[in-house]
């Protein structure tokens, strides 16, 4: 009996090894193939995390777990004249503008936000660089605000426009509606039982607890509901996403 030339085993072997060699060759030789492959990790993570833990709550800690010294990061003093004026007047004339794809656009004063039902949580802040700090955040659940302004069904993202900038490029960030309506997602005005300091984002910063630090936008001036991220900034959904290629989904 002659042995067949093509067996299931040899076909599998050939396929397996050519996949390994082909992928490696493509990664080494073709920058566009490389970008395509390397973009898949973020997409897979985003879809998988939404599938397995859409509404899961971030771990909360106790007062005993608080970082003794919660370091600041990114911009710690917005340079704009407008922000400087707000700072000098203790944000009395500052307003949070909420607009875009909403039925009832509204401007909220800091006093109005502080008068709304608040939530407090002790959570861990994780910088993309690797460090973590635990702090206590008090603020308005973002979902409460979105209910007031009546988000339209066409809205898919919330874009947070900030007062700070890097060399003239204003900071901004964006989140999807799963995170926007997540019970722990809040606009924090109080940190460790003190009014939010300028270094940490006064008067208002985002806490989106299941993502990394660069998503926790500070110095928020305006929240815009949009159907797409393509028309904001350079289209990647955030300042660092646009400038240096950090992933928009920062759940890892």
């Amino acid at each position: 009996m002659m042995a067949p030339l093509l067996t299931r085993r040899s076909i599998l072997t050939g396929l397996g090894f050519s996949t390994i060699i082909g992928t490696t060759g493509g990664l080494v030789l073709s920058p566009s193939f490389r970008d395509l492959v390397l973009a898949s990790g973020e997409k897979l993570a985003y879809q998988t995390h939404r599938l397995i833990g859409r509404n899961a709550l971030a771990p909360e800690f106790t007062e005993a777990d608080l970082s003794p010294d919660f370091r600041t990061n990114g911009n710690t003093m917005p340079a704009s004249a407008e922000y400087q004026r707000h700072m000098e007047t203790s944000f009395a004339n500052w307003r949070l503008q909420v607009d875009g794809l909403v039925a009832a656009p509204q401007a909220f004063s800091l006093a109005a936000l502080k008068a709304m039902p608040a939530r407090a949580q002790i959570t861990r802040h994780d910088c993309v660089e690797g460090w973590s700090a635990i702090g206590k955040w008090t603020g308005v659940p973002l979902a409460a605000l979105l209910t007031q302004v009546k988000l339209l069904p066409t809205a898919r993202y919330l874009v947070l426009h900030c007062a700070d900038d890097f060399s003239g490029n204003a900071y901004y960030e964006s989140i999807d509606l799963v995170d926007a309506f997540h019970p722990q997602t809040m606009l924090a005005h109080t940190m460790n039982d003190q009014p939010l300091s300028v270094g940490h984002g006064a008067p208002l910063r985002l806490r989106v607890e299941r993502q990394l630090g660069y998503k926790q936008a500070k110095y928020i001036m305006r929240i815009e509901a949009t159907a797409t991220l393509a028309n904001i900034g350079l289209g990647k959904g955030g300042y660092w996403e646009d400038q240096i290629g950090y992933d928009w989904y920062a759940g890892i």
């Binding site: 898949s40 990790g41 899961a56 771990p59 690797g130 973590s132 635990i134 299941r210 240096i244 890892i252």
Partner: protein
């Protein structure tokens, strides 16, 4: 594989060509060669973004780091572990690029992916190939349970687990005496121990500590934080598991060279292995 092994009829002897590695083992092995190099080098670049390690739930610059790689105000690079500081100028902390440029950065460009500082790109390499790595070990472990590779070839036999046998095997390794003939068809006890540590401890450990660093997965699997003692402990353990895998790879390559690299590498490509001849 599913076909019965022909050597069951007559015991093979030194010089015979025998079936050594299954297809699943060979595919996984070469996938890992690529994936582990990518994971290691991109991981070192990610470490460069914050070259300090902590124990516990939190850890940042104001907190005590049990390990740190850095550069002093003067001209030296250093590695600090606990209270011990080692001057690592030229290799870690402060080193010179091939262009002649001196850099104050933890791991040098020849060890990182990409070679120049780019946390965003390193994270993309790392977090994309993490899928290949994690799905690979999962598929391999399931396959090895079903085809009984794990039970038959990797779990030590009762005879091998005896302290006297282990000691004898350590002595054989120390004298660089490798098994010949029929005995070379089976893994020895130190080999089994090394492979099982990688398969069941180091790789699952490095994947699970990776999960534990994800704020999103912390919400989905909060128990992982309890298992590893907090996110910063998980980050430290991730680094330690990495050192374990690197140590395995170094010893593994050394053993391949000592045991006859051509025969060993052929067996990992074609699956066929020539049994070393018995001493006359």
């Amino acid at each position: 594989m599913h076909s019965p092994e022909p050597m069951a009829i007559q015991a093979p002897k030194g010089g015979d060509l025998v079936d050594r590695h299954r297809l699943s083992t060979r595919l996984w092995h070469w996938t890992n060669v690529i994936t582990i190099v990518i994971m290691l080098m991109s991981g070192l670049m990610i470490f460069n973004a914050h070259p300090r390690l902590y124990w516990g739930k939190y850890g940042a610059n104001p907190d005590y780091a049990w390990l740190q790689i850095g550069a002093t105000q003067g001209e030296t690079g250093f590695l600090r572990v606990g209270s011990v500081t080692v001057d690592t100028t030229g290799v870690l902390g402060r080193w010179t690029e091939s262009s002649g440029q001196v850099r104050n950065r933890a791991f040098p460009s020849w060890a990182t992916l990409p070679g120049s500082y780019n946390l965003a790109l390193a994270r993309r390499w790392h977090l994309t190939f993490a899928w290949v790595f994690a799905l690979g070990i999962t598929a391999y472990l399931i396959r090895s349970l079903i085809n009984r590779h794990l039970q038959r070839d990797l779990l030590p036999t009762a005879e091998q687990a005896r302290p006297a046998h282990i000691w004898a095997d350590i002595k054989h390794h120390a004298k660089l005496q490798f098994p010949k003939g029929e005995a070379a068809r089976h893994y020895n006890i130190l080999q089994k121990f090394a492979y099982l540590s990688v398969l069941l401890v180091l790789i699952p450990g490095i994947i699970l500590t990776g999960f534990t660093m994800s704020p999103s997965l912390n919400a989905t699997f909060p128990w992982l934080l309890d298992v590893f003692g907090g996110r910063q402990s998980a980050r430290s353990l991730h680094f330690i598991f990495m050192l374990g895998i690197v140590a395995f790879v170094i010893v593994h390559l050394l053993m391949v060279v000592l045991a006859g690299p051509i025969n060993e590498i052929r067996s990992m490509i074609t699956g066929r292995y020539r049994l070393p001849k018995e001493d006359k």
